[in-house]
Amino acid sequence: MSEYKSVNEIKKDTKKNESKKIEDRGILNGLEQLTPEKIESVINQVINDETGARLKVYVDTCVHCGMCSKGCHFFLSLNDPKFSPAGKVKQTLWEILRKKGKVSTEFIKDAATVAYTQCNLCKRCAMYCPFGLDVAYVMSVMRRICHKLGVVPLYIQDTAHSHSATMNQMWVKDDEWVDTLMWQEEEAQEAMENLRIPLDREGADIFYSVIGPEPKFRAQLIFQAAVIMNAAHENWTMPSMPGWDNSDMCMFTGDYEMMERLKRRHFESALHLRAKRIVMGECGHAFRSVYDVGNRALGWKMPPIEVVHAIEYYNELFEQKKIKIKKKFDRPVTLHDPCNISRGRGLHEMARNIVNATCSEFIEMTPNREHNYCCSAGGGVINCGPPFKNARVESGKAKAKQLFAAKAKGAEVVIAPCHNCHGGLEDIIHHYGVEMELKFFGDIIYEILELPES
């Protein structure tokens, strides 16, 4: 049987998908404040002042061949041409350019839904396009327009507001941050006497930064990182003041002014403490923001301070024999390659080095490395919240198949070194009944780590 549906089946599916009207107060209430003049004015300002040859080349070069479709997990999961990357451009920027910004509020509503919730900005399609066109960039331009129009899904907009008021994405107050670090330090002292999470230590080799959800929901990851840092006898620090959160939902809402403010605060936090380098926790989008997008928006070709993702750091720990393990993790594992650090940064082989150093049995997921499917949560899609959850999980059908295939070969545990991937994969595993356990590399390393005697 062909893996592709007939035209009639596609038409039926398209109708089914169209009938799923999404109600989001951020989008709907935002539309109420628009006028045709404002829409046209904002669109033309963004197109004329903020885009240039890149957008023009992408739009003019596309020959509508549809080769990008196989690159998109939305299309692979839903088998509807509307969800092909070219189809998404057709529903957004092509129409906007064709009409020179004279589009309706209804159009903006649909375009916002497509740009924010039906594209993970994972850039997989760019590898399947014969010209290498980057549809994620085109979707980002659409998001930028929606941000300036004030038509953004409520949950991710709220996260961007949190960034602007607190410099972190979870409304964590200044005192709650330090209190959480002290709490985790105390907890970790049960494992290692006199263990420290050194605050504001000047001249440290490592400035360790995390994303907002860690102190809010996953504080044990800070605990684990502290144990690993102490076991490796690192000269490290964490800041006591805002600037500790490396994440960046503003990059995904299109609020680039705030993205710049966030990244500047993050870099300056580390540089003010004269840290040698930033080591980031296991997060993909934050790495994209710190290493690629945010730094360049501020005027740096590369980050002003060396930035190292947790995968690079853990790999270094094993290569330099800075930590020892008691024994290898003995349950069969598979590895999910997060888009931003695999396709975006090429850390997939290092990730495999860590798997091999820590786990006794490794079963590859297929496809993998830079061809891996997105978890359907990235690009801020999971941050758009409950109104879009069902649609998001349905777009993860291809990922579920991938997980089932790895499970059929014996894998019991999925390692996903990215927070958003964890959120997305948790939902997919639950929805499709995959019944696999999810772990970060930090979980595995902490579990098998041999603690030094003193």
């Binding site: 008021a165 409304w171 050194p198 006591s240």
Partner: protein
């Protein structure tokens, strides 16, 4: 900086403390702090009851711990007056302790300890989930649901912070857009709210406050004493006041305090980097002041007499330098620029740079030959004729003076301080287990 001109500038070397005795005595020692005058060394330690306390040692004395022990202590700092303060917690109540004397008032948490140049202390505080500022043990009368970015005025009498002036719940995105944030000064909020407020800053006469705000996603303003500039910009960075007094025949202490100053008040102005049409400019009192567009511009800074202004700029993408009165230095650096400053006489400008992964010092558009693994804030002598930095290379700390390495290597080192007469440098550093105070003649 208390008694800066009366410090011991004659004794060439003192051994302030033998830290091996500390290591034998205490199972737990945090980072060492040294007083500005170099006469005392201190650290947070755990005592025999495994409580957190502070140990201090000076020359010819044994290490001495504070009498009080705590469940937790952090943020140990010598203030500008060389009194030693820490944030301490006992049975869940947090207080400031200075030289082992704790404040009367306690809180559920305190943080962000700030000093003015006289040693006044302010902290941000939280009690029963309400937020305020405490200045020398006196809390604001008003409390807020959220507070951040606290600053203390130069005279120490005022504190200000960004506050949530209209309580807003998570997910109330349209209420947020209407403006729920403002500045509170000594607990009293401005009468206007903004969507966001950042970077409050006092004028140096302590009478005015400027900040950056946004009133919508694309209208950014500079606000002074609650009133916005007339024009909005697509983004802004932190505003700074021009110096509001001119000093003559003065000496600048390491904390920036002017000794023997003569005040000549004049009108202040406010400058800020502003973004328009995708490029950055320097604006003054609401109007474009530097008309040359930059890819990036921030950290503008004034000569002490206020007649010159300079800033860190990127004239092109990925190329950084200093612009002095809107004229960029010819030299460019690839990675980073920081800690820019004028010499006290206003004739020189220095900054730190990072280029191709190595740190260095640039003065008046020329880079020193020596490069470092890391370097700290540059320090001018009071007459502006010398520049010194602390730096790290190959795992050890050193002092460089005017581009040349002086003295020995150290395991740890505080920033250098010039003597009031510019003839000597005070070096405070750890060598092996000895914390030494040295006065090096230039």
């Amino acid at each position: 900086m208390s008694n800066y001109d009366k410090w011991d500038w004659d004794t060439s070397k003192k051994k302030v403390a033998d830290l091996s005795a500390w290591r034998e005595r205490f199972p737990y020692i945090e980072e060492f702090r040294v007083s500005h005058d170099g006469e005392k060394v201190a650290a947070i330690v755990k005592n025999e009851d495994m409580e957190f306390t502070v140990c201090v040692q000076s020359e010819d004395n044994e290490p001495e711990t504070w009498e009080n022990g705590y469940d937790k202590a952090w943020n140990l700092q010598f203030g500008p007056d060389d009194r030693l303060s820490a944030l301490v917690s006992d049975a869940g109540e947090w207080k400031v302790s200075t030289d082992d004397e704790t404040w009367e008032n306690g809180y559920d948490f305190i943080w962000n300890m700030k000093f003015n140049s006289n040693g006044n202390i302010a902290v941000s505080a939280q009690k029963e989930l309400l937020y305020s500022v405490v200045n020398n043990d006196t809390p604001w009368e008003n409390e807020f649901s959220r507070l951040t970015d606290m600053v203390i005025s130069p005279d120490g009498d005022k504190t200000a912070a960004v506050v949530e002036s209209v309580p807003v719940l998570e997910s109330e995105i349209f209420k947020f857009r209407q403006g729920c944030y403002s500045i509170a000064v000594n607990g009293e909020t401005w009468d206007r709210n903004f969507m966001n407020v950042w970077n409050p800053s006092f004028s140096d006469d302590s009478n005015h406050i400027a900040a950056s705000v946004r009133t919508s996603y694309y209208d950014y303003y500079i606000v002074v004493d609650g009133k916005t500039w007339d024009k909005s910009f697509s983004s802004v960075w932190e505003p700074r006041f021009s110096p509001s007094s001119i000093e003559k025949s003065s000496i600048t202490a390491p904390n920036g305090e002017l000794l023997n100053k003569e005040l000549h008040p004049h009108n202040y102005s406010v400058t800020a980097p502003v973004k328009r049409g995708g490029k950055w400019y320097l604006a003054k009192d609401g109007e474009i002041f530097w008309d040359r567009p930059y890819f990036q511009l921030w950290q503008q800074f004034y000569s002490p007499d206020g007649t010159k202004i300079a800033a860190i700029v990127a004239p092109e993408f990925g190329k950084w330098t200093i612009a002095l009165d809107n004229t960029p230095w010819e030299i460019r650096f690839s990675d980073y620029l920081s800690d820019p400053l004028f010499s006290p006489d206003g004739n020189g400008v220095a900054c730190l740079f990072k280029d191709k992964g190595k740190w260095g010092v640039a003065v008046d558009g020329k880079a020193w030959d020596c490069l470092f693994d890391m370097v700290w804030q540059p320090v001018f002598s009071n007459n502006g004729s010398h520049l010194a930095v602390k730096f790290k290379k190959d795992g050890f700390y050193h002092i460089a003076l005017n581009g040349n390495i002086i003295d020995e290597k150290y395991d740890d080192l505080a920033n250098p301080i010039f003597s009031p007469d510019n003839s000597s440098i005070l070096v405070r550093g750890l060598q092996g287990s000895s914390y030494n105070r040295k006065v090096i003649k230039i």
